[in-house]
């Protein structure tokens, strides 16, 4: 079922009620940080490299026009065709056009967040193309008709048994048990291989674009990206403008951070650099290659106070460490991007009005910023979005006006101390026996889930003033 960001609280409520799913999330919330932390601890240069790569990313963004032009020039020289897509719809149309020019029916797709962002699969399927996701996680959720719950592990929310049931139901392969994960994976491999061999177009994403040589870098753990890129005669790389880095060594430096932050590996199983179409002396490779560079408001973000968000390398560490993501799961966010990075990006890519709950899904605990390999101050950006909600009066009036009133009162210490003195004393008298309130006017949000502890006695300021008068 499709979920939207404007119903975040309802989505979250539903997710919290699903015990089996909550158990999977609890387990992931425990293990994914352990994997990341072990990998980072075993790599003594992490902090220095993190700082270096951030500066490289910032430099690349500061000079995006220059590096994009260089990249385009080099990519063209390598025999690629380069397309710029202003919007998601533009990217989808460009890809469809290419497929139709080649009368392609079968498309083999590697994992790409950009095509999730633009909804490419639905778009191509509406044009009657047979698009198959070839990353195992993406394949699983495609079969299940779901969206990714995580930017790195799209099917992390599924148990092995759910996948088994799904395959038994979707694959017409007769009687079989599939009672171990090897068999489940083996079945997917068999089906995907047939598709790879018959596909006329391969579509992949990119983890980095290298300006100096016009290459694109892709990392996978399954090798499916390379099969998508090398077996079909036509390759389309769908990516976005901020993936650009000046040099190949910058891409590999970023990669060292990416894999450790994402999966706790020191190296992904496959790291590939794609230059362009097959050259005369090459024995294999695509005959024609296209690179589609998506903007979709990224240049607007670059010019805004949120430009640091463009440093994101899509590792998913902020999701894995976010207590709210781990509580409600990725689908509740109603967006292809979830967790802290998604709560910043989604309002910027869609609208703050629609996604206004997301920047509030944060306790400012700071764990995301602590692990972010790109050093993005995520809690600050989320608070800045809440500031924008206040300025644009998107925040609910009871909060906006209530907090203004509280701040006004706090600016008048004598009045504040007198009023709180009276109120607190009454609360103390009413609740001293029990020690806490089950219900309290104006504190419904608090008391819906927890008691409100009774004030200890008179306020400190009352007692302190009284003491001073005596002495």
């Amino acid at each position: 079922m499709e979920q939207h960001s404007d119903t975040f609280l309802e989505n979250a409520s539903k997710a919290l009620g699903n015990k089996a799913q909550a158990d999977i999330r609890d387990l992931l919330g425990l293990f994914t940080p352990l994997l990341r932390n072990a990998a980072v601890d075993n790599f003594e240069h992490f902090e220095a490299l993190r700082h270096h790569v951030k500066r490289v990313r910032q430099h690349s963004l500061d000079n995006l026009d220059h590096y994009l032009a260089t990249y385009e020039q080099q990519a063209l020289k390598n025999g690629n065709r380069v397309h710029f897509a202003n919007s998601g719809d533009d990217l989808n149309s460009i890809v469809l056009d290419i497929c139709q020019q080649h009368n392609a029916q079968r498309i083999a797709k590697g994992k790409s967040m950009i095509t999730e962002e633009t909804g490419l699969n639905d778009f191509l399927q509406r044009a009657n193309l047979d698009v198959m996701e070839t990353d195992l996680g993406e394949y699983i959720i495609q079969q299940a008709g779901e969206t990714p719950s995580h930017i790195v592990g799209p099917a992390l929310h599924k148990s092995a048994d759910e996948v088994r049931q799904l395959f038994l139901q979707k694959h017409d392969l007769g009687e079989r048990e599939l009672d171990n994960t090897e068999d489940i994976v083996g079945e997917a491999r068999q089906i995907l291989r047939e598709h790879f061999l018959k596909a006329q177009v391969g579509i992949i994403g990119a983890n980095a674009l290298v300006a100096e040589d016009g290459y694109s870098m892709l990392v996978t753990n399954e090798g499916n990206g390379d099969l998508c890129a090398n077996l079909p005669p036509v390759l389309i790389i769908c990516t976005s403008v901020e993936r650009i880095l000046p040099r190949a060594e910058d891409a590999t430096a970023m990669l060292r951070l990416l894999v450790r932050s994402a999966t706790g590996q020191s190296q992904t199983c496959y790291t590939s650099f794609y230059s362009g179409p097959r050259r005369e002396q090459d024995v294999d490779g695509p005959l024609e290659t296209h690179i589609v560079l998506l903007d979709n408001r990224r240049t607007e973000i670059l010019a805004s106070d949120y430009r640091e968000m463009l440093q994101c390398i899509r590792c998913g560490a902020c999701l894995n460490h976010c207590p709210i993501y781990n509580s409600v799961g990725g689908h509740a966010y109603g967006s292809v991007y979830m967790g802290p990075m998604g709560s910043v990006l989604t309002p910027l890519l869609s609208s703050l009005e629609e996604s206004n709950a997301l920047p509030n899904a944060c306790t400012s605990c700071g764990r995301c910023a602590e692990v972010c390999p790109a050093e993005i101050p995520l809690p600050d950006l989320l608070r800045d979005l809440r500031h924008q909600e206040t300025v644009e009066k998107i925040t609910a009036p009871r909060w906006r006006i209530g907090l203004k009133l509280h701040t006004w009162l706090a600016r008048n210490p004598r009045l504040y101390h007198w009023l709180t003195g009276v109120g607190i004393h009454l609360l103390h008298l009413a609740g001293r026996k029990r020690g806490s309130f089950r219900k309290l006017p104006l504190a419904g949000g608090w008391t819906s889930q927890r008691d409100f502890p009774t004030p200890q006695g008179k306020t400190f300021m009352q007692q302190y003033r009284a003491q001073r008068k005596q002495s």
């Binding site: 409600v328 944060c362 400012s364 602590e370 927890r450 302190y464």
Partner: protein, 263 residues
């Protein structure tokens, strides 16, 4: 009128410490402030409580209302700046003054904010890193087993991790058993817990049950926000957990009811 903000300092020759009580301690748990004064005086400080203080403005600030709290920040800076040090029994309020006030203000006020920030400390950090408190010849305070909740702002904005544990070791005779996943938020998050109560409840439920697995009798912490949240949830779930601010433990002030407990 309070003409000289230092008028009410306790007598002596030590450095003058302005105590920022915090609104939660002022309203809900004054013993935290009284115990803070006691601990600070034991290190030889002269403690002053500026009467112009109320709240640091975090509720509005974290909800995104930057404009309203600027005058409040200035008022608090002016109240605190005459002292040699500012000490706060809360990591999140100390983080607010140390990190967020300077970001909010411009020009002269920014400089004043930075000067106050440079001499502002969360209380366990002050009693460990600045003017270490020693037990001396006093007997250690005997406590039942304790677990410690690291509050996020103290932990990540101010690097407070070892200090409260060292103080408990120095001043008290107790077994400290650590919470599993101790660096995970308890779900308080200021207005978050009221804006998204169901998600917050899942987080604080996990925290209460983590505390239970430690077998500790007391859960202590340095931030009343977290402690009110944890104690309130424990009460709602009928879980027997004594929740107290660390200053109460360090002073051996365990006779009164714990947070959320009846008389």
């Amino acid at each position: 009128m309070d003409t000289n903000p230092l008028d009410n300092a306790s007598p002596g020759h030590g450095p003058v410490v302005a105590l920022f009580v915090t609104c939660l301690a002022d309203l809900l748990r004054p013993s935290v402030a009284f115990n803070s004064i006691k601990l600070l005086e034991q290190t030889g400080c002269r403690v002053v409580v500026p009467l112009q203080q109320t709240c640091c403005g975090q509720p509005a600030y974290n909800s995104g209302d930057y404009e309203s709290i600027i005058p409040l920040a200035k008022q608090l800076i002016a109240a605190l700046e005459p002292a040699d040090y500012v000490v706060i029994p809360s990591g999140s309020c100390a983080g607010m003054i140390c990190h967020h006030y300077p970001q909010l203000l411009d020009g002269d006020w920014r400089d004043r904010a930075l000067q106050v920030a440079a001499k502002t400390f969360e209380i366990t950090s002050f009693l460990s890193d600045i003017l270490p408190i020693k037990r001396g010849h006093r007997a250690a305070i005997k406590l039942p087993s304790v677990t410690y909740h690291d509050s996020c702002a103290g932990l990540r904005e101010l690097g407070i991790k070892e200090q409260p544990r060292q103080l408990l070791q120095e001043l008290c005779d107790t077994e400290l058993s650590e919470l599993p996943q101790t660096e995970v938020c308890c779900g308080f998050g200021g207005t978050f817990c009221a804006k998204m109560p169901e998600i917050s409840a899942k987080m604080v439920h996990d925290k209460v049950h983590s505390a239970q697995t430690t077998g500790a009798t007391i859960l202590a912490g340095g931030d009343l926000g977290c402690l009110l949240n944890i104690a309130g949830r424990a009460r709602r779930e009928g879980v027997d957990l004594e929740v107290r601010h660390i200053t109460e433990l360090l002073c051996g002030d365990l006779d009164g009811p714990a947070i959320g407990e009846g008389e």
